[in-house]
């Protein structure tokens, strides 16, 4: 069994307890305007092109089996995305690493081996693996098998999910999961659809399932100025969390940033939120206070 992996990132310290390794999968059911991992949205391999690294040598065009790249001497190569199959031939010859293959097929065992190396640091810090993406719930067989292996090896397991996956997928993955990072983007289903492409009922229902499962859950809310930071949505979110249960619910605010911008350019995709500026932690403090006032344990990720 294999899956397309865009990155395996060691020493990740912001995605669950302790020192973790985050495995980024490819493919997501949502298409959020603020997504900082645009290379993880499509379930197929893609080629990124970082033009500042390109020396215009033209090698990429000569090896492309689909004739998707046109390179004129002295000019940057242009990729015809319609023709590109993401085969990776161009990135294999690109000496400058200007052409990057997003999505490398890896088996469960290969990913496990890569993750296992940091066991020393997981044990000392209470860390482990975090499967992110992309959406882990879109690949429940791969993810549950990977996490099962990790648990067997005494590695703490975590998934980072948008919640947008089938209930059965969620139930397939949960038994092998110690900790869930669960995103809440907007409480209004209509607005959720506008900003992410999909309504939120499935997500809210899954949120109830994970809470009632008794697993450790940290909700996360990407705080996007003008999109979901209005008092009405914050109150609605707080009410929803409050309604979820007996034990105190925690939410972490993820501040909007533009670090992903370069990746959009590399994919020849427009950056949807051009013009919006990144948030500073201080700007999120009012929102934090609103959650706290409702008895929700709210932190700001930094």
């Amino acid at each position: 069994m294999s899956s397309l992996i865009t990155n395996i990132q060691g020493y990740s310290i912001h995605d669950g307890p302790g020192i973790r390794t985050v495995v980024f999968l490819k493919g997501c059911g949502l298409n959020c305007l603020w997504c900082s991992n645009p290379e993880c949205i499509s379930p197929y391999p893609e080629i990124g092109f970082i033009k500042t690294l390109c020396t215009k040598c033209g090698q990429c065009a000569t090896v492309c089996p689909n004739e998707a790249i046109s390179a004129k001497p002295g000019q940057l190569p242009v990729t015809n995305r319609e023709r590109c199959s993401g085969c990776g031939a161009c990135s294999a010859v690109c000496v400058q690493e200007a052409r990057v293959l997003y999505g490398k097929p890896m088996s469960v065992d290969e990913v496990f081996e890569a993750v296992k190396g940091d066991q020393l640091f997981y044990q000392a810090s209470g860390g482990g693996i975090t499967v992110s993406g992309g959406e882990p719930l879109l690949q429940p067989r791969f993810v549950s098998e990977l996490l099962r292996k990790c648990k067997q090896a005494d590695i703490h397991t975590c998934i980072e999910t948008s919640g947008y996956g089938s209930e059965s997928a969620l139930r397939q993955v949960m038994p092998y999961t110690d900790y869930i990072l669960f995103d809440l983007k907007h409480l209004s289903s209509a607005l959720h659809r506008r900003y992410t492409g999909k309504p939120n009922e499935l997500i809210l229902n899954n949120a109830k399932i994970v809470i009632s499962s008794g697993l450790e859950v940290l909700f996360r809310m990407p705080l996007i100025p003008g999109i979901n930071d209005d008092p009405q949505n914050i109150r609605a979110t707080a009410d929803f969390l409050y309604s979820l249960g007996k034990k105190p619910i925690a939410i972490q605010l993820m501040l909007y940033h533009q670090l992903g911008k370069g990746k959009y350019e590399s994919l020849d995709k427009p950056y949807p939120l051009a013009g919006l500026s990144a948030l500073e932690p201080e700007q999120a403090e009012t929102v934090q206070e609103m959650f706290k006032a409702r008895g929700i344990d709210c932190t700001i990720s930094r």
């Binding site: 990132q9 060691g10 020493y11 310290i13 912001h14 302790g18 020192i19 390794t21 000496v95 190396g117 940091d118 020393l120 640091f121 000392a124 810090s125 860390g127 930094r302």
Partner: protein, 808 residues
């Protein structure tokens, strides 16, 4: 023995709340924006004195030279000083040491020195250069080497095969901290009494070694000179007080005068006196010789004074903080003018090598962390100083609260301060080499990561034995002993690599070549140690820093069994990666023939074929990615190198130690090394640190690098140097610092030796490069040595920017 008292948590909280006082703000601001000024006063006085004492004994001559300087060098007190004393009258000034290094300021004769000197001052420098040329210790060392091996030493220097040498910023001398406990408890008066006792004994016992007698005479001269120098400040403070309109400052100046009247002549009684005494001693050392400012474990020496004054209410915490801040700023910003050829590769002025240790254990092995350790870290964080180097001596009992404070300081200084070193590894290594464990526990940092003992006089970094360039020796091996860069034959002919039938044959040739070069470097270094004391003595440094000099009546420059020797074998990772690439490409996988590979290297990977071969070389397994064969190759080269070095014994039967430090040497060292089979092009920088992966070649992030470093081990070395670069988010929050603390602890518990973190973002670096004036206090570390970013040369800046972009 102080029994371990409970840590006063309220005091720690109060320290956390301390802010930068106006005085310290002014001091820091003034010193940062001050024009760094070369001062010719010291060297002029030295020359005059040397002329007058012609024909006298050398120990006495050097003592009189010191006295003359201390009597007449201009002094100043600035209105924000509460700790007084600088080597020059300038806010940030650098004296010259032509009497120690000879005619060694590059460009002084053709006017390209770039120093901010008036015509008159430049004439003085020239006159002194002319006067001392040919007379100094390095000049005589060069002559000795010449008669032994012809131009070999110069050829090695030219090819950057070893460092430092008389041509590359070498200064004869030793590196060890002052005997702080003794100085603070006895004062100069106590030292004089010891010298007098020596003289008396000499007379009574009718001893015959006149050198001892002269030494004690010299000791009295220099200690008295130190006392009188402090009294000059006392007098100046009084005269300033008389004119001072502000009553608070007036009172302060009178206090300063009283303190300077008392220390360093007498034992320090208060925290303020202790710090003032230390500063005078440091200034005195800095006027006698171009020396590192080694402070050592100040949270131990000063602890009794601090605790007693705080407990008895003799001082407020705020005042104690100001004193610490003032002293550390002065020590950190002590500036020297670079001599020799290194200056073209790095920078013309540099901060003197200096180091403060924090934490560690006491002689019984108990944790030595205390509130003063915490305060020192806090003040360095507030002042955002890049210098002095702060060595955090971690051990398994180091409290988490202090480690977290250290990481907060690291975050505030934006990197490298403090560096973290594994105390347990250092102690174990000293014990393995025969040091009693109680003594081993008292080690301190030499300036970067190299540990030394207070019972020894250390010669690390001097006499051409600071470093040997391992990658350079591989270069020689691949070219039958000829340097690719200079074209000169420096090594021996170890055979034509194209005729080698196996990797083992090549590796053997490298080992032969290595033994030849290293043994010659060590031999010449040891010869230098016998030459130097004939032409250079340091009576003041002997009194205050030589553990047994006073008792023996012997100058610190004269070597014996109390002297310790060490060398840094650098660029091991480059060498191991290159050897492995040859093994894989030529012998295992046969993708290339040796002639093909050598041709590509000799052409610096030029042309299409060359570039293709370079890619194959780059794709060979590299250290830093948890790949067994790459990591074990590093371990193997390291162990071999150490075995050669340890086997070299000095005339007193002491083995040479290995300590793998970094500094910014990898730029300098890289200039002498042709293209390498690891894919590095000719003259490009070598790897920084000593156990850092090849630039841009570690793909797993910091934990992957750490795993590789643990496998490579370097257990045979007293220290190694691993630099890690992080973006701000890795250290900004308390939570992320907790995780970093775990990373450090895990690394060290499993045998790691050293790690330090730089923290910068690319945008800031680029802006700092374009607008240095706005980023004067931006701190970065270059391989174990700290510097302000704006002081670095453009190519070093580019490298840091590169690392920032590709960082974690």
């Amino acid at each position: 023995m102080i029994t371990k008292s409970k840590i006063d948590e309220t005091l720690l909280k109060r320290i956390d709340n301390l802010e930068l006082s106006d005085r310290l703000f002014d001091l820091k601001h003034a010193m940062f924006s001050a024009q760094r000024k070369v001062s010719v006063d010291r060297i002029k006085l030295a020359m005059e004195s040397w002329m007058e004492t012609e024909g006298e004994d050398i120990e006495i001559r050097r003592a009189k030279l010191f006295k003359r300087i201390l009597e007449e060098v201009p002094i100043a007190i600035y209105n924000f000083d509460i700790i007084v004393g600088r080597e020059t009258e300038h806010l940030v000034g650098a004296p010259l040491f032509l009497d120690q290094v000879g005619d060694a300021i590059p460009g002084i004769w053709d006017g390209t020195d770039g120093l901010d000197l008036t015509q008159e001052e430049r004439e003085i420098v020239k006159e002194c250069s002319r006067f001392f040329a040919g007379k100094t210790a390095p000049d005589h060392v060069k002559k000795a080497w010449h008669s032994l091996v012809g131009t070999w030493a110069e050829d090695v220097t030219e090819a950057k095969g070893s460092d430092p040498t008389p041509d590359s910023g070498y200064f004869p001398g030793i590196t060890c901290r002052a005997l702080w406990e003794k100085i603070l408890s006895k004062g100069m008066r106590g030292m004089i009494a010891e010298a007098q006792a020596g003289i008396q004994r000499f007379q009574e016992m009718k001893e015959t070694d006149i050198n001892k007698y002269y030494f004690w005479q010299a000791a009295i001269i220099v200690c008295q000179a130190m006392i009188d120098y402090a009294k000059r400040y006392a007098k100046l403070a009084v005269s300033l007080a008389e004119k001072e309109p502000d009553p608070a400052r007036k009172k302060e100046l009178y206090e300063i005068a009283e303190i300077c009247e008392w220390v360093p002549e007498n034992p320090a009684r208060t925290f303020h006196e202790a710090l003032q005494c230390m500063n005078f001693i440091i200034v005195g050392r800095g006027l006698e010789a171009m020396y590192p400012v080694l402070i050592g474990r100040m949270d131990q020496y000063l602890r009794p004074y601090f605790e007693q004054d705080i407990r008895d209410g003799r001082i407020t915490l705020e005042r104690a903080a100001e004193l610490v801040g003032n002293a550390i700023t002065l020590w950190g910003m002590k500036t020297v003018v670079q001599v020799g050829k290194t200056q073209k590769q790095t920078h013309q002025f540099s901060y003197s090598i200096n180091s403060i240790n924090i934490s560690g254990v006491d002689r019984k092995g108990n944790d030595a962390s205390n509130e003063l350790s915490y305060l020192i870290l806090h003040m360095i964080g507030l002042l955002r100083l890049s210098s002095p180097t702060v060595l955090f001596s971690w051990h398994s009992q180091t409290p988490r609260w202090l480690l977290l404070k250290a990481l907060e300081t690291n975050y505030l200084t934006k990197g490298g301060i403090p560096l973290f070193e594994n105390n347990e590894h250092v102690v174990a290594t000293f014990v393995k080499d025969g040091t009693p464990v109680e003594v081993a526990r008292e080690w301190y940092g030499q300036g970067c990561v190299t540990p030394i003992l207070p019972t020894k006089i250390d010669h690390n970094g001097s006499e051409g034995k600071g470093a040997v360039n391992v990658a350079f020796i591989l270069d020689l091996t691949l070219h039958r002993g000829v340097s690719q860069i200079t074209g000169k034959k420096i090594g021996i002919d170890t055979g034509d690599p194209c005729s080698f039938k196996s990797f083992e044959e090549l590796y053997e040739a490298f080992k032969k070549q290595y033994s030849y070069v290293v043994n010659r470097v060590l031999w010449l270094g040891t010869v230098a140690q016998s030459v130097e004391p004939q032409y250079l003595r340091f009576p003041f440094n002997s009194c205050i820093a030589g553990p047994q000099c006073m008792e023996k009546g012997q100058d610190i420059m004269i070597t014996d069994e109390t002297h310790s020797y060490g060398i840094s074998d650098r660029a091991i990772v480059d060498t191991a990666d290159s050897l492995l690439a040859i093994k894989k490409l030529v012998f295992d996988e046969r993708k290339l023939t040796m002639p093909e590979l050598l041709q590509a290297i000799d052409n610096n990977f030029e042309g299409e074929r060359g570039e293709k071969i370079r890619q194959m070389c780059l794709n060979a397994p590299k250290f830093g990615n948890d790949i067994d064969e790459a990591d074990y190759m590093v371990r193997d080269v390291g162990e071999f190198s150490a075995s050669v070095i340890y086997a070299y014994q000095n005339p007193f039967g002491q083995p040479c130690k290995v300590s793998r430090e970094g500094l910014s040497w990898h730029y300098f060292g890289g200039l002498g090394v042709g293209a390498l089979p690891n894919g590095r092009k000719a003259k490009e920088p070598l790897n920084d640190g000593s156990i850092s992966p090849m630039r841009g070649m570690d793909k797993l992030g910091p934990t992957g690098v750490l795993r590789s470093a643990l496998k490579a081990g370097f257990k045979e070395s007293y220290a190694s140097c691993l630099n890690q670069k992080f973006s701000g988010s890795a250290m900004q929050s308390a939570e992320s610092r907790e995780k970093l603390a775990v990373l450090i602890e895990t690394f060290f518990k499993n045998g790691g030796q050293h790690i330090q973190f730089n923290l910068v973002d690319t945008a800031e670096l680029l802006d700092a490069k374009a607008h240095p004036e706005k980023h004067r206090d931006l701190v970065v570390r270059v391989g174990g040595f700290s510097a302000y970013f704006v002081m670095l040369s453009p190519e070093i800046q580019d490298d840091i920017i590169y690392r920032s972009e590709h960082g974690c």
